[in-house]
């Protein structure tokens, strides 16, 4: 992992210090990150999940997205999930695992202020607001 990716990982560990954080090099100076037991929102089943994502070697000049959580995420009210959600496989250090992909892109990325930790917070806040 290059220095910028290491810094991103350190910030995630600090911001989510009460959560297990799994980190593995992606073999290209980036990292696969999985943060456990995060709140998705009371409208979902399950309400809590791990969330995984990849920080590429181009960070902070590349966006951190998409994010992945437990497969087959549903709404408790049986309503449909919006177009940002889809069932995919989550890349990681091992074999890809089934997951619900949440694809939220930062179209006006600012590498001086946008961090991987902030991006995760934004995704979680967006999910809980749906």
């Amino acid at each position: 992992m290059n220095a910028a990716v290491q810094q991103a990982v350190a910030e995630i560990r600090s911001a989510y210090s009460g959560h297990q954080v799994d980190v593995a090099p992606d073999g290209q100076d980036g990292a696969f990150v999985k943060v456990h037991d995060l709140p998705l929102g009371s409208q979902y089943a399950p309400e809590r999940s791990w969330v995984a994502f990849r920080i590429t070697f181009q960070y902070p000049f590349a966006d951190v997205y998409p994010h992945y959580c437990l497969p087959n995420l549903v709404r408790k009210d049986k309503g449909a999930l919006c177009s940002a959600f889809s069932q995919k496989t989550c890349p990681g250090p091992g074999d890809p695992e089934p997951a619900t992909m949440v694809s939220r892109r930062s179209n006006q990325l600012n590498p001086t202020t946008d961090t991987a930790a902030l991006k995760l917070a934004k995704v979680l806040d967006w999910m809980s607001s749906q």
């Binding site: 600090s14 989510y16 939220r104 179209n107 600012n110 917070a121 934004k122």
Partner: protein
């Protein structure tokens, strides 16, 4: 002519002060013969007030009401400063019972060791500033018995019974927004005000940006309409909202 003390008996000087919302105890002061005296707590004994002013047993303490019939205290009687903290003394030989006092007690608010009298126990920030001749760019803090004094919001109701001791500070506070220093003229601001103030001071703020407070516990979103109390060294990030992809 002085009136016999009408306060409730039974509360000694050692009773712990109730603190609303588990805050630290407020500081208290008394005025005796036009001198400002720090008091150890809200409820004290009459002799404690005289002792602080260097007045001996040959004098009787009276609470100063807006009336010729002030309330008299013997030395061992408890005095609740929340009922009035302005006093005078008379020679003990002149003390005699009189008719009950129906007028409000004089109340002394203290601001940075200056004091002003009022008979109104309820104030606002604006009225308290006017009482002390302070301008609007001064922020008021209620003075607690702790290093952390509490800023008084412009919309707060200021009750004398919650503690009459205040201090004033110029409102300016400097925080970081997107790693840039931004100075605010007041401490209680909304998320929207943080963004607009930062933008006016040259910080690049994305349109419809999402504001986060960077705290040791992680990032906390600050919606536009949410009010926060700024402290020096607070840090915020305003980042672009995301789109579905």
């Amino acid at each position: 002519m002085p009136n016999k003390n009408q306060t409730k008996p039974g509360h000694g000087a050692d009773v712990a002060e109730p603190t609303p919302n588990c805050r630290h105890a407020s500081k208290w002061v008394a005025i005796l013969n036009d001198r400002l005296l720090p008091m150890p707590r809200q409820v004290v004994q009459a002799k404690d007030i005289k002792h602080e002013a260097g007045i001996g047993t040959g004098f009787t303490l009276l609470r100063d009401h807006n009336s010729p019939h002030d309330v008299m205290f013997v030395d061992d009687e408890t005095v609740d400063l929340a009922l009035g903290n302005v006093f005078r003394v008379i020679p003990a030989c002149e003390a005699a019972p009189t008719q009950p006092c129906r007028e409000p007690a004089k109340l002394a608010f203290s601001m940075d060791d200056a004091w002003k009298l009022t008979i109104n126990p309820d104030h606002t920030c604006e009225s308290l500033r006017h009482l002390f001749g302070l301008s609007d760019d001064v922020e008021l803090f209620r003075d607690f018995m702790s290093p952390q004094d509490e800023p008084v919001c412009d919309t707060d109701r200021i009750r004398f019974a919650d503690g009459p001791v205040f201090r004033a500070e110029r409102r300016k506070v400097t925080v970081k927004v997107n790693k840039n220093e931004v100075t605010f003229a007041k401490r209680r601001v909304t998320g929207a005000e943080i963004k607009t103030t930062a933008a006016k001071q040259g910080v690049t703020i994305p349109e419809h940006g999402v504001l986060y407070a960077m705290t040791p516990a992680g990032q906390k979103p600050i919606p536009d309409q949410e009010t926060v109390t700024l402290k020096e060294c607070d840090e915020f990030r305003c980042v672009t909202a995301d789109d579905n992809s």
